[in-house]
């Protein structure tokens, strides 16, 4: 076969008996030497100009022991030319095409976050300091704290932020130290993610995915800290340590759990799909080894800093993002309205002033009222009256008799679009008329509806 281009050449020298049909075999004509060289130069020119190609481009390392190869697909349907950009991009940029073969550097698209209110813009319950003493205490939406062992801390919205990209953070302040933490003492801050929102992780299945958690943190106490992933339904946890290197300095932490959990029954619907703990110095009952999946509720190692034992210690956190995969991408900021609506799936408040609801007499000390919810809730909410809303009867005009609200009673189940609630008060007032209003003249009075995880 005539050797008409580089890819026709043979790796065995003796098989190369011609160049473009010009014999270079033993006994070749002397005139064939210069003709063969000229023909070979034309082959090189065709290669240089891209007229003819090669199968693979091999870039060997220094000792030629290994190489990196660039190769076209086995079947190319149309000629394609990629033109590289001039110069390098900036850190973390990626190559992209304009669709016509011109390549350029561009910022990566950020992955969506599985966490709601990671920038702590939403504090529906109030932005001031809320004391965490006991279990299951909410301040920022979607985040709750535990302080179970004598120590306490507060949570409040703060404008102390790592950079101008963020407006708020959550500030935790140690308000009562526990310098002698017992085994079962429990100090942590956490967010729960609904099963629907983490089903894509395929936890509990053989193809469970890696996740990456990133966040900004600042503490008055430097040292080793722990986060943990935890499933309340599967009772599975995975602890990771991180280091706060310098006190009172914002630091960004990126933590990848490269192996998803293939075990257990993880909630994939409207239950608790995944909890993320930030430990604050819990007891040994909740300590275990890091970097492995555990069949227990553990969220700390023995290396965890004793934050709860440090008087007046502070812990700021913001920009929390949990994403699928092993790479952290930039934090995505959604609009305030979108973030609020997401939070109201779990918690919303009605009222603050004047008419909170209207309803009908139920029994001698109960009125049945219906609140139309701002958005569908995750589950039928629990209801709490804050302040002292009152009950007023309306016949032909406002009745004189009104009474202070005693409590919110039962909530009818399976009503995630509207909350049907009984309002109960002390005896001595029989609301005989059929139409009643729950009202308040005091700012801050409200009915809170809670469908948190």
């Amino acid at each position: 076969m005539a050797k008409d281009k580089l890819t026709d050449y043979d790796a065995t020298a003796s098989n190369n008996t011609d160049v473009g049909g010009i014999s270079v075999a033993e006994g070749m004509l002397p005139s064939g030497v210069n003709n063969a060289i000229r023909e070979q130069m034309s082959h090189l020119k065709d290669f240089a100009s891209g007229t003819t190609g090669i199968d693979v481009l091999s870039l060997a390392d220094d000792d030629a022991s290994h190489s990196i190869k660039l190769q076209a697909p086995s079947a190319v349907t149309a000629d394609t030319t990629f033109t590289l950009p001039d110069g390098d991009g900036t850190a973390d940029q990626v190559l992209k095409t304009d669709g016509s073969g011109q390549l350029g550097f561009a910022d990566r698209h950020s992955n969506p976050s599985l966490i709601i209110n990671g920038a702590f813009s939403i504090f529906q319950r109030g932005t001031g300091a809320t004391t965490v003493s006991g279990n299951d205490i909410f301040a920022a939406d979607r985040f709750k704290g535990w302080a179970n062992g004598g120590g306490t801390y507060t949570v409040e919205q703060s404008t102390d932020v790592p950079n101008n990209e963020f407006e708020f953070s959550a500030k935790l302040t140690n308000t009562a130290t526990d310098g002698s933490v017992a085994a079962g003492d429990f100090y942590a801050y956490a967010t729960d993610i609904e099963g629907y929102n983490v089903s894509q992780l395929a936890y509990g299945h053989s193809d469970a995915k890696a996740v990456t958690l990133s966040f900004w943190v600042k503490s008055s106490l430097a040292g080793t800290y722990c986060i943990a992933l935890y499933s309340t339904t599967a009772n599975r946890s995975h602890i990771k340590e991180y280091t706060i290197s310098s006190a009172n300095t914002w630091e960004k932490k990126t933590i990848t759990i490269s192996s998803g959990d293939t075990t257990g029954s993880w909630n994939r619907t409207n239950g608790n799909g995944l909890r993320i703990y930030w430990d604050l110095g819990s007891g040994s009952t909740y300590q275990a080894s890091a970097d492995t999946w555990l069949a227990s509720q553990d969220f700390s190692t023995t290396n965890q800093a004793a934050w709860i034992g440090s008087a007046s210690a502070t812990f700021f956190i913001t920009g929390i993002k949990l994403e699928v995969g092993s790479t952290a991408t930039d934090f995505q900021h959604s609009s305030y309205g979108d973030e609020l609506a997401k939070c109201q799936r779990y918690y919303q408040e009605i009222g603050h002033y004047r008419h909170l609801a209207q309803g009908a007499r139920w029994t001698t000390n109960q009125v049945f009222v219906t609140y139309n919810l701002a958005s569908n809730m995750r589950a039928t909410p629990s209801a709490t009256a804050t302040g002292v809303p009152s009950l007023s009867r309306y016949d032909n005009g406002q009745s004189a008799d009104a009474t202070s609200l005693v409590t919110v009673g039962g909530v009818e189940e399976n009503t995630t679009k509207a909350a049907n609630i009984t309002i109960i008060w002390a005896s001595g007032y029989d609301p005989t008329a059929s139409l009643h209003y729950v009202y308040s003249n005091t700012n801050g009075d409200k009915v809170a509806l809670d469908a948190e995880l």
Binding site: N135, D136, W362, A379, T380, S382, T384, E413, D450, L453
Partner: protein
Amino acid sequence: MNEINITSAQYTLDPEGNNFGITAIINGITMGVPLDPANRHYAEILRQVAAGELTIADAD
């Protein structure tokens, strides 16, 4: 570990005399709790009842 502190729980009735919900004191706050297993307060009430740590009183 109890993740929620519940100090009392009592059923409330609808006009037909059926249990409608529960009035409970949770973390020191009086709260109306629906009989919805997906509600975390009701789920925790059921868990503590099963563990013998809590009793739901009949309605008045």
